[in-house]
Amino acid sequence: MDQALRRAPTRDPAWLGRVFWLSLCLVLLWPLGVATEFKPWVLLEPDNIKISAQFIGSFWPLVFDAEFMTMVARETWRTVAMATAGVTLALVLAVPLTLLNTRVLSISALSGRMARGPYGLRQSVRWLLIVLRSIPELVWALVFVRVVGLGPTAGVLAIALTYGGMLGKVYGEILESGETHATETLLRNGSGRLQAFFYGLLPTSAAELTSYTVYRWECAIRSSVVLGFVGAGGLGQQLDNSMKMFEGGEVASMLLVFIALVALADRVSAWLRKALG
């Protein structure tokens, strides 16, 4: 036993490092607070409290007469329909892009490095997917509302483009992270790319792909409510109207309906995922 180590150390060697990093984080926090005008005490100012109390107070009584609830039911269906149509179109967009993008189906890569042409094609498809994904769907919706006018078309197209990018990226990840040996063998034995996809890649990853698509549909319902705020119709637009008119009761009813809808979609999606997996 080394004699020099007999004496117990008196200091914790990691202490200085921790103090340094903690101080750095606190120092960085200050400009963030300034930039976001973070003044929580504003919420406690008497005027603001009065306005907030008034607004929250107007939530009760909830409005749920027959005419209003029929309207809400109709708009909820429109929201769900917009989400479903959007995700369907997103699939139409994403599936070909995924097939073009996935490295597993590359024939030139079977003999070592991928040839330049196919590599360039795959990279450009990848960048296209990134661009589609990065522009928020609200921006797409704002643009489309200018072109096709108010209504669900703008919302459906916005969801289709953005979700097409997201689905394309995740499909690519799922396909490439799965078992690729079967597909590679099929390609090596001379089958076509689509054949290799249907006989090799799809059976392996079908459950995960479907499960993710169902989850995305649930997210799309939330997005279509958001898009309603810029004129795409549905529950979001009604929420916007009611908020602008300070009809607290209607806002509260619609929020509750929306929370219930999301919970239902969540439950359905979880059940589907369990049934698939």
Partner: protein, 277 residues
């Protein structure tokens, strides 16, 4: 701590509700400061016995008395205080992988520390010399500030044992302390544990697969088979005949051929992360 177990039956912690009990009407008594080893083939109920003695699960029948008190009839707060006097070292060292050895060892002292002192000790270890001494007794002093997951299996097991030296306990229950240690280290660890128990006057109950070590170090040997007491004798009176009958059909364990390696904690599968992006 004086222990009295009367006709106790218990199920294995992970067993299904309708399964056969792991302990069948077992009766044992331990004087304060006594040292005993529990031996027996796999499935004899050794781990279940330790769990019952540690008040980790109530016996399904019979009574347990610690220092004349039935812990399961105490109110919650009194039971928690009583538990402060117990120490259980499971077979798999209960050390969080990314924690440092010094914090992991000092955690043994938590029952004696107040809330604020415990939280302060997380940021700066409260008693480095004590941790150093405890680890030094197991020849691990140079690993004081290392991360637990950077240690080997045997080193981790010794850190788990070193915790006992810091715990304010009057009863030490050690499950398979030597499973990952080579013969030299086994001897050293056993000697340290026994000396530590004798110094503090704690009752020491250990389960062992290494029958020769048990016979060499412990004054009292308890043999368990199929949840029932096979024998309860001073070490000198345990004959080869009795051992052969105890390990009937499990001779390979008696000979030490069993791969008594510490089961590596299987990495828990990461739950699939579903985000809306």
């Amino acid at each position: 701590m004086k222990i009295e177990l009367l006709g106790a039956s218990a199920r294995h912690p992970a067993a299904r509700p309708g399964a056969a009990p792991a302990l069948k009407a077992l009766s044992l008594q331990f004087r304060a400061g006594e040292q005993a080893a529990i031996i027996g083939p796999s499935g004899a109920g050794k781990t279940t016995l330790l769990q019952v003695l540690a008040c980790a699960m109530p016996p399904t029948a019979g009574t347990l008395t610690l220092d004349g008190v039935n812990p399961w009839q105490l109110p919650r707060s009194a039971l928690q205080r009583l538990r402060g006097g117990l120490f259980l070292a499971p077979q798999v060292p209960p050390l969080p992988p990314r924690q440092r050895v010094v914090t992991a060892v000092l955690a043994g002292r938590l029952p004696a520390m107040g809330l604020l002192a415990s939280l302060r000790s997380l940021f700066y270890p409260s008693d480095i010399p004590a941790a150093f001494d405890a680890l030094d007794r197991f020849d691990l002093a140079n690993k004081l500030f290392e991360r637990v997951d950077r240690l080997s299996g045997g080193e981790r097991q010794r850190v788990g044992l070193a915790r006992a030296l810091l715990a304010p306990a009057r009863l030490w229950l050690i499950d398979e302390p030597l499973s990952a240690l080579d013969p030299t280290r086994s001897r050293q660890a056993m000697a340290t544990l026994l000396a530590g128990a004798r110094e503090r006057g704690t009752t020491l109950v250990a389960t062992l697969h290494q029958v020769d070590v048990a016979l060499a170090h412990f004054p009292r040997i308890i043999g368990l088979r199929d949840g029932a007491l096979a024998f309860d004798l001073p070490a000198a009176e345990v004959t080869r005949d009795r051992l052969a009958r105890l390990y009937d059909q499990f001779e390979h364990e008696l000979r030490g051929e069993m791969s008594a390696a510490v089961p590596d904690e299987a990495p828990t599968p990461q739950p699939v992360v579903m985000h809306c992006r």
